[in-house]
């Protein structure tokens, strides 16, 4: 929303040498958005250039490799795969971002969705219900599992002051072990063969179907979650309190917001969304828990949330980019470049986005202060 009536932060006519596009956009908010976008894009470009140099150093042609990636990426099947791979990344990033907005770092998404996948598959196989209801029950079970598991970290933080970074990392290890044990001991399908161990299959009423072209419909659930995230965290009063607590817990508490309550609710929400991360695989591909389950989505979500700056409008393109890199890694191989370079690109994006954001952020803060002072001086007091 621009405010046409308010005094411009800067008047290009007064300083022709700085009449850039940025200085003409007078609303600090849209300026901030633009700067954020530009710095994220710069981070991505930087990562591509750096990895290009890496490819070149190994004696291969980076241009050709990238060309192959992109031409592959925009072919029908890879486009579908990009969207498919982005689906869990959107959810994982939202889960992490909810934590970030409350100034908490939920590294435990990995463990939360793993446990949720097992519980979802087991519940799904036992319940019999009409199609939509069945899916809803499985998703509810998965979300509840993720929320409860993340809730452990919240309770530890609120009652014992345990840092959530430590507790969620440890809970990840516990989750891996507990899931392996539960699966092996109780939920392994006796009918399965040794080469493909799984839980009992979920009946087809509990499946998320593929659309025409093979794209799994779970993408739409991810998009709905993304929109809900925007509405709840950025637009609602609850979200305002959450963000205020994250931005300055003391000021929030002084204004009457219960910090502990916010910690618990934010962590439960984050865990609930984390519970959905693996559901695309459980409901859309495997229809059970077992071999072929995904790994590392929780950590990838951290990168996506950071690149997307915790904002829905950033998370979506960031998830698409990471999905694209995953989907087109094979293109690198066709040009004799190891596909793991795709992962290197992702890692470099993560590093450069953190560094560039910090540098740009400082620059932008200084600039905002100076601009504000400037606007006031132009208004009245002559310098």
């Amino acid at each position: 929303m621009s405010q046409p009536d308010h005094p411009p932060m800067s008047d290009p006519a007064e300083r022709p040498e700085r009449a850039s596009l940025l200085s003409r956009l007078t609303n600090p908010r849209s300026q901030g958005m633009l700067v954020t976008m530009a710095s994220s894009l710069a981070a991505v470009l930087f990562a591509f250039v750096l990895c290009g140099l890496l490819i070149w150093a190994t004696g291969k042609n980076p241009i050709a490799a990238y060309q192959k990636m992109f031409s592959l990426g925009f072919s029908g099947d890879k486009l579908r795969e990009t969207l498919d791979r982005s689906t869990p990344l959107i959810l994982s990033a939202v889960a992490v971002a909810i934590g970030f907005k409350m100034n908490m770092f939920n590294i435990g998404v990995e463990g939360q969705y793993l446990l949720a996948m097992l519980v979802g598959a087991v519940v799904g196989a036992r319940v019999h219900a009409p199609a939509v209801v069945h899916v809803a029950i499985i998703l509810a079970a998965a979300m509840a599992t993720g929320a409860v598991y993340a809730g452990i970290a919240a309770v530890l933080k609120v009652t014992r002051g345990v840092n959530e970074v430590i507790s969620t990392i440890m809970l990840n290890s516990i989750s891996t072990a507990v899931v392996a044990w539960l699966f092996d001991r109780f939920f392994r399908d006796a009918k399965g063969n040794d080469l493909n161990v799984k839980t009992k299959p979920i009946p087809s009423t509990g499946w998320m179907p593929n659309l025409a072209g093979g794209l799994n419909s779970f993408l739409f659930i991810a998009l709905v979650v993304l929109i809900l995230y925007w509405l709840i965290v950025f637009k609602s009063r609850f979200g305002f309190r959450l963000r205020a607590s994250g931005a300055n817990p003391v000021a929030a508490r002084t204004s009457g917001i219960s910090a502990k309550r916010m910690i618990v609710i934010a962590m439960l929400m984050s865990g609930a969304v984390a519970g959905l991360v693996g559901m695309k695989y459980t409901l859309g591909e495997l229809h059970a828990y077992g071999q072929g389950r995904p790994e590392g989505l929780g950590f990838a979500g951290i990168a996506v949330a950071l690149l997307g700056r915790n904002h829905p409008a950033g998370i979506l393109p960031a998830a698409l980019l990471f999905g694209f890199l995953d989907a087109t890694a094979a293109g690198l191989e066709l040009k004799g470049v190891p596909r793991s370079v795709s992962e290197v690109i992702q890692a470099v994006i993560l590093l450069s986005v953190v560094i560039i954001n910090e540098v740009i952020g400082r620059w932008y803060s200084r600039r905002t202060v100076a601009r504000t002072a400037a606007a006031l001086q132009l208004e009245g007091v002559p310098a």
Partner: protein, 520 residues
């Protein structure tokens, strides 16, 4: 470098000539000329926004001037960063303390300059050095105390020790008295004099004219980015200095157009907050605030005022009773108490009052987001919140280009006006105001006083906590003295003087030992 005796014939520690500093669109300093004689206390006075801070940042190497020269001890220097300035013997004590609470004094002092022996931290060396400096300059701190346990005055001494430890012989102090009571101010001034006698040079930034007149050897006045006068304290009085500084008379906190009412709006009965030791932080405090009454709380910082406010707000576990507008709120949440009309201007606006990175309209909404006019179902009614913020900006003359500007971009005085505006725009029943005009310029101070007086005349009950004794005496109808968690006296502002208040505040009037900080 302090040990070296400087060459003779050059009496000036710092000479700035023709300094100009531009920011995009602003000329923050222009044609600034400053001459600081070695071994003197040199005050730089000016309104907030006059360019004092910009100038000091230039001198401290935090940014580079666009024109002009800096000469330190006769040598022209160019500072690319504060480390260059530190290397030249310049140290800066910032207004907002930058100390790590969970470290000891010694650890804080050496942070970034840790003495090591065989690769290990040599805290003993640091301790010895700190005590040595303490003996030479009178800046006495106990190296092994946790900073978290220290009061404001003590923290300031740690900040000063930090720069002395780094070998600074030219100290820049940014508004050092803003947070101190008279006795602490006197102590600070004694320290400054001792440091100067020891050969150091002090550049003292302030807008408290009485203090400036009292302590400095030379005064330079800055107005609208440029140096407008250099005077000796003997040649000017307060009024003249104020004129030079703001071009007009100083505001006064006094004046009222209403009688104290009979309704009790805030009643505190036996309120006690337990402390870490045996002594409670707030010890059976009982008082009432009536309609249209200002009850002032005088006290050295750290005598329970902060905890008292927290307890009244419902932030800290306490025993005793609190009523607001006749309703017992002892067991109610902070939010519920605020809904009953309890406003709070916090001690530290950055820590307790503002979301610095958030736009102004979100800041003015904080704590009020559940009011019917700002709600649209479960959502924030952003349009109304913005409109309300614009109203606050207008009514409280917050100087800002708009409500979308992040709070950190405003000057301290304007941030404070926004906080004050947020807290009184809804006509609270009771307002807890802690240092409402701390660290703000004269214009903002006058504006805030006007708003507070107007609210009081409208029936507001005000609990005023202030280290500015003139403000306390001028605004209050009664003054309670708080010492060691207890209310130890009630004084009539009509007869109270700052000196009298001071003697109660330090406990001297009860024969209770003064609050102390002794080097071992």
């Amino acid at each position: 470098m302090g040990e070296l005796s400087e060459g003779a014939g050059e009496g000036d520690a710092v000479v700035l000539e023709g300094i100009e500093k531009r920011f995009p669109g602003v000329i923050a300093n222009h044609d600034v000329n400053l001459r600081v004689r070695r071994g003197t206390i040199h005050a730089i006075v000016g309104e907030n926004g006059a360019g004092k801070s910009t100038l000091m940042k230039t001198l401290y190497g935090m940014h580079q001037p666009d024109a002009g020269t800096i000469r330190v001890n006769g040598t022209e220097l160019r500072f690319r960063s504060p480390s260059d300035a530190i290397a030249a013997g310049i140290g800066m004590v910032h207004q907002h303390f930058m100390l790590a609470d969970n470290l000891t004094v010694a650890e804080n002092v050496i942070l970034g300059e840790e003495p090591a022996r065989g690769g290990l931290l040599d805290l003993d060396a640091a301790r010895r050095r700190i005590l040595e400096i303490g003996r030479a300059t009178g800046i006495r701190v106990r190296p092994d105390r946790l900073v978290a346990e220290l009061g404001v005055g003590q923290r300031q001494r740690v900040e000063i020790m930090k720069v002395l430890y780094r070998g600074a012989r030219i100290l820049i102090l940014d508004e050092p008295t803003a947070v101190l009571v008279p006795q602490e101010v006197d102590e600070l001034f004694d320290n400054l004099r001792a440091m100067v006698a020891d050969g150091a040079t002090v550049i003292f930034i302030s807008h408290k004219l009485d203090e400036v007149l009292k302590v400095s050897d030379d005064i330079t006045v800055i107005r609208q980015g440029t140096t407008v006068a250099e005077v000796k304290p003997a040649d000017v009085d307060r009024g003249r200095l104020a004129e030079l500084m703001v071009g007009s008379e100083l505001p006064s906190p006094e004046g009222r157009e209403s009688e104290v009412g009979s309704d009790v709006l805030l009643s505190v009965d036996g309120l006690t907050v337990a402390g870490p030791g045996e002594r409670p932080l707030v010890d059976h405090v009982t008082f009432e605030v009536h309609a249209a009454e200002v009850v002032g709380i005088a006290g050295v910082e750290g005598n329970g005022q902060f905890e008292l406010c927290e307890a009244i707000l419902g932030q800290a576990p306490s025993t005793g009773r609190v009523s607001i507008g006749g309703a017992d709120v002892t067991r109610e949440s902070t939010r519920r108490r605020r809904e009953r009309g309890l406003g709070y201007i916090p001690f530290d606006r950055h820590r307790e009052g503002l979301l610095l990175g958030a736009p102004l309209w979100e800041n003015s909404l904080l704590g009020r987001e559940d009011e019917a006019r700002f709600t649209a179902g479960p959502f924030v009614a952003a349009t109304q919140a913005r409109a309300d913020c614009r109203e606050i900006i207008d009514a409280f003359t917050v100087r800002t280009p708009g409500e979308d500007v992040p709070a950190f971009a405003l000057s301290g005085g304007n941030q404070q006006k926004l906080v004050v505006g947020r807290e009184i725009t809804d006509d609270p029943t009771v307002l807890l105001a802690a240092h409402p005009t701390r660290g703000v310029d004269v214009g903002a101070q006058a504006a805030i006083w006007d708003q507070i007086r107007e609210a009081r005349d409208g029936g507001l009950g005000l609990l005023l906590i202030s280290a500015d004794l003139e403000e306390l005496i001028g605004l209050s109808d009664r003054i309670l003295v708080m010492f060691d968690g207890q209310i130890t006296a009630e004084l009539d502002p009509a007869t109270a003087t700052p000196e009298l208040l001071g003697s109660y505040m330090t406990g001297a009037r009860q024969g209770v030992p003064t609050h102390q900080e002794q080097a071992s």
